[in-house]
Symmetry: C2
């Protein structure tokens, strides 16, 4: 934690980050104030603190359990259509909290910066984080800054952690799927993974792609209101939809049967997958919610998702079965095929 | 957050980390289970979860405020006399919580691993984290794993975040020092910084040095029992004692006067500082507590520190004055000198 008291607001006079900006002295204080305090503290009503504090009574008003999660981000490139590493770092942790049934309350932000990074790059990332936090209704309340020598990291890594509150009565969990339940997604698969692939540039692709990176907590709030019996939710990040479905099948001891024709996939993602021999089920997403809901609440759940700006293309993609526990099977035009958890993502540094 | 359900416990068959270990698939699951789940989950009574949860009522039994903090660790080398990056990552965040008056409850751990790192190195670091967490009485409850290509980071970075609870009635803060207060430290200055300097190896030093890296929460608990009026506490990490004192002088609008002869410094650290022209006040520490206490509680505070294994060499090093607000002055054998916040640490990647 930076022992930084935000006493002053200075604009750095140097264009790039140097090792002294990570040394705990005046240089670091100036960097933190210029870049992070000014972006996150907003109107200074809630200044960035070295240790964030919150009344437990205020938290308890929102629910009966605290949720806590963390996620590191090493995406390459830092900026891509639809977002950047800052957007990802906020949305990723907000979504990790939200899919566990928690209302996100506050985030921390720890950065490792490569010496020589442009200060303006950091300012852009911090601004994206502030925008995403505002969209999600959370505050970034504390942080840390480290600088390493040129070559000791690739430009910028960001780790966010988050604290949220789970409402009384909400009981979701990866092991709670039951035969007869249905599986829903809020929108098209693979947009983030396909976008990063294309943004790497070395493929010569210029497709009409953008990351789906978005905070899902609002959508999830609406879903839980409409379908309070929701069994479990996951955001399908690394490993894609395939990873989520195989995980829930194993953890719940159930089979999952999905229909390929029901999967929402954009023409741009489908085209890129066909070109490169990839499967949209394995591509990473940063704004795709997978929800397992009791059949009798399916219609209400689907309507709630579709009524939200992030759920216009929500779809019922399959159901939970008692057959083949632990296995995920997909109906395709050519018969059934088994969906496996991949060994790894087809693309490193996807998030 | 790793969407990992700890269903199985496998030992990895490969000796080094590959990119597929960060891809969200079976390889990552195997790595996380071999290295982190097995180290942190202990007897599996409290398995590592993808989202940690805790009853708010149980937290509220310990105090009235939640504390939340984060810290990234990029120390080079990973292993050094007295600890390693894992020890540091746990102690650093435990100490950030404790100096704010909080009792640490749970930690998260996010790692960025360079492709090619030996799995045994990771196992050693995870074991150190588990040991330090046990010593501090906290649990590591959630984590994340990313792998980047060779050359995209230097071996291993660890980011920990922590949640703690502040007892009702404890009101410490960097702006609360008052003229007449005294300044205490629990032990010798500069051991961590001097150890890392020597461990870098490129100086040809072979001094009798070890990092002071330790969890301070037990010591701090004893201090607060003995001196409940304690104004503020800080652990003197990057920037050393000088950074803490200048920060509290500025934030509290007071002067600080310390006596050089009262500063505890080991012969090994003093020797290294004289050799290299460094100042022990600017060297980083990872187990040095600085506390400002009302004068009438000074004796009780000092006795409490000295009675603890981490406070045997505790000392009263100076006092808070109304003169020269915002300035730190040291009495030396050659008269008074002003202590400034350094621009940066003399050594990059100290923690």
């Amino acid at each position: 934690m930076n022992a930084i008291t935000p006493l002053r607001r200075r604009r750095l006079s140097v264009p790039t980050v140097t090792l002294s900006h990570g040394g705990g002295g005046t240089a670091m204080r100036d960097l933190v104030e210029d870049v992070f305090v000014s972006a996150f503290a907003g109107d200074a009503a809630a200044p960035l603190e070295d240790q964030a504090r919150m009344d437990l009574a205020a938290l308890a008003a929102g629910g009966d359990r605290l949720a806590f999660t963390t996620d590191g981000f090493v995406v390459d490139p830092l900026f891509f259509p639809g977002g950047d590493i800052g957007t990802l770092a906020v949305c990723g942790t907000v979504n990790d909290l939200a899919v566990g049934g928690a209302v996100p309350v506050m985030l921390s932000c720890a950065v490792v910066i490569e010496e020589g990074l442009a200060v303006d790059t950091l300012r852009r990332v911090a601004a994206s984080m502030a925008d995403a936090a505002r969209a999600a209704g959370v505050r970034i309340v504390t942080g840390d800054t480290k600088v390493v020598a040129r070559g000791a990291c690739d430009k910028l890594f960001v780790t966010t952690s988050g604290v949220g509150v789970i409402r009384r009565g909400i009981e979701v969990g990866i092991g709670k799927a039951r035969p007869g339940d249905v599986v829903l997604v809020n929108g098209p698969l693979g947009c983030h993974g396909a976008t990063i692939l294309a943004a790497r540039g070395d493929l010569g692709l210029d497709a009409d792609l953008a990351s789906d990176c978005a905070p899902l907590n609002g959508l999830i709030g609406d879903l839980l209101d409409a379908a309070p019996g929701t069994r479990l939710m996951r955001d399908a990040t690394r490993g894609g939809l395939a990873a989520v479905l195989t995980e829930l099948a194993e953890a719940s001891g159930v089979g999952v049967l999905i229909a390929e024709e029901a999967l929402p996939v954009t023409p741009a993602v489908r085209g890129l997958c066909e070109l490169l021999g990839l499967d949209p089920l394995h591509l990473a997403n940063e704004g795709v919610l997978v929800a397992v809901v009791p059949r009798e609440q399916a219609a209400a759940a689907l309507a709630a998702l579709r009524a939200h700006p992030l759920g216009g293309q929500a779809a019922l993609i399959g159901g939970v079965t008692s057959e083949r526990p632990g296995r995920v099977v997909m109906d395709t035009a050519f018969g059934q095929r088994t969906i496996d958890l991949p060994v790894g993502d087809p693309l490193p540094r996807i998030c």
